[in-house]
Symmetry: C2
Subunit: 94 residues, 2 copies
DNA sequence: TTCTTTTGTCTTCGTTCGTTGACACACTAG
DNA sequence: CTAGTGTGTCAACGAACGAAGACAAAAGAA
């Protein structure tokens, strides 16, 4: 599943936790975080630490993946122009 | 690509940045973070904020994905027993 | 319906985050 | 070789993080 925002991530964590029939307290204990932190994450807390997030999804039997996006599908983003500019800059390299 | 640790994530960010021929400064500006933060992330900083991480990989033309792991491939982890226990707990639900 | 469990929210506190600016070191181009 | 560029590291600082504990509200069970 693609995760465009921390909100989506939080929703997935909650959904998965429910599927595993775990309470927030139980999962928090397994991960080694406070229950309050997990509540916040599930609500999409943008400042959660990446390592705690990683541990949480691992405890949920999930894995983090990063994939290249299809540039054609991102016509509304500015990354394409940045990539092209970077490509031009690096092109004359000998 | 699977990302088991923040170290791996950092290495991927650096690798991708190089492929795009961007400097740390340029990428940091695009993302809206300090260069020092990006340096730390590329070195695998576990406490980096998830939202900043998300923005960084987005700027690199990458997307975050989360997938269910294959339980059989995780025989050395304790998550399998946790999942089974949770399954048992929820089994008698009517 | 009542009772129990789960979740949401809050305060307090010590710790650490991200930023800024500077400097050292490594790398690259000519 | 030198000059310029890129990266690594550091200290200081204000902001905010995560933990702990408590209570309220919502959800679930009987």
């Amino acid at each position: 599943m693609n995760i465009p925002s921390v909100k989506d991530l939080g929703a997935l964590v909650r959904d998965r936790r429910h599927k595993l029939r775990m309470t927030q307290q139980a999962l928090a204990e397994k991960v080694g975080v406070s229950r309050a932190w997990l509540v916040a994450l599930e609500q999409g807390k943008p400042s959660a630490q990446i390592d705690l997030v990683l541990r949480t999804i691992r405890e949920l039997g999930l894995s983090l993946r990063i994939e290249a996006e299809n540039p054609a599908a991102r016509s509304h983003e500015i990354d394409l122009s940045a990539i092209l500019q970077a490509g031009k800059k690096g092109a004359p390299k000998k």
